[in-house]
Amino acid sequence: MARELSQRADIRSEIMEINLGPHHPSTHGVFRAIVELDGEIVLSCTPYLGYLHRGFEKTCENKKYHQVIPLTERCDYMGASSNSLAYCLTVEKMLEVEIPERAQVIRVIMAELSRIFSHLFWLGTHGHDIGAMTPLFYMLREREEIMNLFELTAGGRLMPNYIRIGGVAKDLEEGFIERLRAFTNHFDTRVDEYETLLTKNIIYMDRTKGIGLLPLEKAISLGVSGPMIRASGKAWDIRKSEPYCGYERYDFDVPVEYGCDVYSRYLVRVEEMRQSNRILKQAIQQLPEGPFIAMAPGKIFPPQQDIYTKMEALIHHFMLVVEGVRLPVGDCYQSIESPRGELGCYIVSDGGTNPYRLKWRAPAFVNLQALPEMSRGCFFADLIAILSSIDIVLAEVDR
């Protein structure tokens, strides 16, 4: 209807080109788009990227394998542990090392915590973008609890830098499991609380239902993954389809919605938080005793305690620091389900101690490509809602 109005002969109208960003609060970073508007209707939207490009892949080629880990976490800083997990899994696949059970469960705990962490902040800022100020304050409360958990065991609050090639950096801190259990016990009721704010909120529904449509066929062709493709009606989750870290041992559902719109993406992410909590509860139950890092001298760092007490461990540690680990010649791709979708790492090794080439398949980068498709023909205000529903992290988009 709005389009018909603007095309009536007695109303003077012309196409307006406006510049959104690079510093716009809704972009959560530095992202610029040139939007062509006919009145309030978006005719086209052309993204301009690269404001945060820092040559991540080139930097990795000049670092030793274990030095890359902290760099990866700076890509998607909202789900930091997922990044280092994807990287370490790729290197481990090439090294062909077995990861101890305990390390696997700890990794699942960290990955799921970072998923909840990311979705929480998404939910808060997404509400904020649409005009619902309240959710953000509640989200920050739970996010703080997760940051405290990260800090307790890994030291870092935002980027724990805790996962290592072969396992994790050190064993869980005393008291971690008790605090995690307390968190998982009350988190489900907290999610119910968030839902009372938005799920049946008539203003929120009005702003998001039927907005930003992305039919499944388009979504697949555009390479969209994660919560976005699940909101377009495809129950595709890499944790189920190609399990890693023993995800096949956990009982959880993959939430699917068929609305293909912003509202469906909201529903999927909220349900994912519940499912992640379910996984966390099972992980606490499953957590076995045992080593937290694989024993593979010459490939994997020995535990810190051994370096202080055992001569061989000290030698291996020294050699690994000075020379680095050598990967067999070849290439390898490994992907995981990050909070945003398929996060993949492709490594080409020439047998040296640095990756010859490292390609980062960043889900936010790929998902953002669907923005022009989704926003065509909608109102300008809806463009903000759509952009926020993609859940971009610009550091990951630009790398």
């Binding site: 040559g55 892949e57 080139k58 697949i220 390479g223 791709y333 993949g344 790929v366 630009d398």
Partner: protein, 163 residues
Amino acid sequence: MNQDHIKEKLSEKFGDALQFETCPGEMSILVPSEKILDVCRYLRDDPELKFDFLTFVGGVDYYPAKPRFELVYQIYSVSNTQRLRLKSRVDETDAGPACIESVSKVWMTADWHERETAEMFGVVFKGHPDPRKLLLPDEWRVHPLRKDFPLLGTEEDTPDLPS
């Protein structure tokens, strides 16, 4: 749908043009650069194979080896949960930069991946709908992911980088 079956179908269709490399759990195929579009289209459209999802397009620079560039296409079939990697080698000639047919007609997502690969390696994707730069400044004439590009850049080529 297993690797042998994919191999069988592809050999039937394309004869000896393709070279297969098999590593555990993963499979990659070396495709002659002039055949890449045909192979991609076949892999997507075949009702049994259905490789409908392009995970990424990337490049590798093997400088100073010849041919210099290897393009990597990681594809996935959402319905068969099968992954496959296509590789294709291209090189610069006296006539101009290395070039290969764009696959963005086959998978829309190739658009940005190819734009990124093009600016990072200086490979031209023929028939790309929007061959602008994506991440780098427009005035840069260098290709940073090439192996002969210095890590810190150079003052003339990349004046806005701290050296």
